[in-house]
């Protein structure tokens, strides 16, 4: 592994950490001092160079370590990656989308050469050199969605569009904030969002679904979601909750800065060409509080967001228990001064 990629763990000894560069580009999700749900989708256009929005799929210093962790999760639980049979074509669409984007945006790491349907893919960081026939899954070691998402950061769900609805019918889900692919696969848009409190009353999902049904080729959108995680654990699945749940109860004021993480999901949505399906990448970024407070604006704002968030939301996001400890840690950083709008550091 080169100097470009961290050698770190997301379990056991938890050696994960962000370099100064990673901290500076961290997608802090709060553009104002309080938080409430909204559809908040915007076009996924190329953003500021160096930012997480610069490229269609962001590859950062955690790439190799995250893929190693994914492989471990899948070895322990193969049900984290499933594709209903009719979704294989959508898997090919996704493979094409990712391979083309990464070969274009990171040519130093990825190369894609196509000769008709004979494709040649090179992934240098993961030392993969693969030739295969596009649309023929017998020429890949596993299905196309699994193949490419084992090499791409973030979770992915594929949604079939029919009956004026979206149906979650394939996915690679190993870095989720507490939902089960195995249970939810097959559900419609409103069904898999059913457990989210408050948002349904606010018709957030009605508007989101209507918007997504008309999502077009070549016009992806993005939005943020966020939660909190104790320890830099990517695999906070319901399946493993008995293993990671207890970790929440052992936090102390001394360990909080190191163990408490803000977990931000950069969610994008793309229409796929052959299947007409929608892919929903959910890219997870972690930052520990000790790292986050090195940016004064973020420290100030995060204190206010956590202080004012309704208990129902804090409970749903799983951090109600440690909210007092978090506030105790953050309040010294909040001098009460106004904070500039937007998410970028001052």
């Amino acid at each position: 592994m080169g100097l470009e990629f961290n050698d770190e763990t997301f379990r056991g000894d938890y050696t994960f950490r962000n370099s100064a560069k990673a901290i500076a580009r961290f997608p802090f999700p709060f553009s104002e001092d309080s938080y409430m749900y909204s559809v908040n989708m915007e076009p996924h256009l190329p953003g500021k160079p160096g930012s997480v929005f610069e490229h269609l799929f962001d590859v950062d210093e955690h790439y190799v370590a995250e893929m190693r962790d994914r492989a471990l999760v899948l070895a322990e639980d193969p049900l984290r990656c499933q594709s209903l049979p009719h979704m294989t074509l959508a898997g090919w669409d996704l493979l094409e989308l990712i391979m083309q984007a990464k070969a274009r945006d990171y040519p130093q790491w990825f190369t894609l050469t196509c000769d008709g349907t004979r494709w040649h893919w090179i992934n240098r960081p993961m030392q993969i050199d693969q030739t295969f026939t596009f649309l023929d899954e017998t020429t890949l070691p596993c299905g196309p969605m699994e193949y490419i998402t084992r090499q791409t950061q973030g979770d992915f769900t594929l949604q079939d569009q029919r009956d004026d609805n979206l149906w979650l019918e394939a996915g690679m889900v190993t870095t989720q904030a507490d939902w089960s692919l195995d249970f939810d696969i097959g559900m419609s848009f409103h069904e898999w969002h059913a457990p989210v409190p408050l948002a349904h009353e606010m018709r957030v999902f009605d508007r989101a679904l209507k918007f997504l049904l008309n999502l077009q080729l070549g016009a992806p959108v993005r939005r943020f979601n966020w939660t909190m995680t104790v320890d830099p654990l990517l695999d906070t699945s319901p399946e493993n909750y008995p293993k990671w749940g207890p970790g929440k109860t052992t936090m102390t004021p001394d360990t909080l800065g190191h163990r408490q993480h803000l977990r931000v999901e950069l969610q994008t949505l793309h229409r796929l060409p052959r299947s007409n399906a929608i892919v929903f990448p959910i890219r997870c970024y972690l930052i520990k509080f000790d790292e986050l407070v090195t940016v004064p604006k973020w420290a100030r704002r995060l204190h206010r967001v956590v202080r004012d968030i309704p208990d129902e939301l804090a409970t749903y996001k799983g951090f109600i228990r440690n909210k007092p400890l978090m506030l105790e840690y953050l309040s010294p950083f909040d001098d009460g001064a106004p904070t500039s709008p937007g998410i970028l550091p001052d």
């Binding site: 029919r162 077009q216 070549g218 016009a219 060409p273 299947s275």
Partner: protein, 321 residues
């Protein structure tokens, strides 16, 4: 305009007279790049300048989605229409430049179907051509029943029958041949999906028959090429743009809004997809809802209108545009 999706600048590569009523047009990208891959059943909106009148008409893509060298559409000449098909037939020649929207699919196949049963009438054959090409490549199971006025007018029937044998059945009106719909719908295995595209009457007949024979709505799919109806001219106030416009008799409300320089969202331009849904701020008169999008309740009220196909009769109409 439809938000965000890139437009495709093209050149007409070929114009072929398929039969006395139908011409096929082939488009290639002006920059020589490959066309975007699409899914069978998709359409594009062609943005044309007909001697000063801007026309934006949707046409199903009939070419093989895997063929990225160009897109093909077939246009049936409608002498009594608003002029879009006449313009294409009479004035469009190879070498001309136009702009296409990105492909949009409002008539996809159901990927779970054990079998796809397709019923086409006349020019309604076009979306099935791209679907059949895609399904053939994927090993899907389909059957096409194609009804046309005469052998002459049964565009592409020869090629389909040559390639797909008895999976394609042709019914010619002038030979007294008609689809035995009851018989056809009786013996289909569970998991068959039914698709129909053709004249309004045919679609109505197939959907009603399927329903009467117990087919669930979720297994019956149709696409109707709804052209904006003509009508009396009327005035409209665009509140958000602070201007008043007049909608001509052969011009749709959406076209009139666009012609005045106001950008309104759209996607299918045929009353089906909901993208152009507009709030009505004031209405002293009668809204003629010609779309398939609004609910019956919404059509009974006067809070919403679909400008791509609907019209107004009366004194005042104020829209939130």
């Amino acid at each position: 305009m439809s938000v965000g999706a890139p437009k495709i600048p093209v050149r007409v590569a070929e114009v072929v007279e398929v039969n006395p009523l139908i011409k096929r047009f082939r488009f290639v990208r002006r920059d020589g790049a490959p066309m975007p891959v699409f899914s069978g059943g998709a359409h594009v909106v062609i943005d044309m300048d007909d001697h000063g009148t801007r026309r934006m008409n949707p046409y199903s893509l009939m070419s093989d989605p895997a063929d990225t060298t160009g897109y093909e559409i077939s246009v049936r000449r409608d002498d009594a229409g608003r002029g879009g098909s006449l313009y294409l037939h009479r004035h469009v020649t190879p070498g001309m430049e136009m702009t296409l929207s990105s492909p949009v699919n409002l008539f996809p196949v159901d990927a779970r179907a054990r079998k796809h049963l397709m019923i086409a009438g006349g020019i309604g054959i076009t979306p099935f051509l791209s679907q059949i090409a895609a399904l053939t490549g994927q090993g899907g199971r389909f059957e096409l029943h194609y009804s046309a006025r005469s052998r002459d007018l049964a565009a592409y029937a020869d090629g389909l029958m040559a390639r797909h044998g008895d999976r394609v059945r042709l019914y010619l009106d002038d030979q007294g041949q008609a689809i035995d719909l009851d018989h056809l719908l009786q013996g289909q295995p569970l998991g068959t999906h039914l698709y129909v595209c053709g004249p309004k009457g045919m679609i109505g007949w197939v959907c009603k028959t399927a329903e009467a024979m117990g087919w669930p709505k979720a297994a019956v799919h149709s696409e109707e090429f709804l052209a904006p109806p003509v009508g009396l001219p009327f005035q409209v106030q665009l509140a958000a743009s602070a201007r008043t416009i007049t909608v001509g008799p052969a011009q749709s409300l959406l076209e009139a809004i666009e012609a005045s320089g106001v950008d309104a969202p759209y996607l299918c331009r045929g009353g089906a997809c909901g993208e152009c849904e507009t709030d009505v701020l004031g209405c002293d008169g009668h809204l003629d809802h010609n779309d398939h999008w609004l609910t019956d309740d919404q059509k009974a009220g006067c809070q919403k209108i679909m400008p791509c196909v609907s019209r107004f009769r009366g004194n005042t109409l104020i829209l939130d545009r």
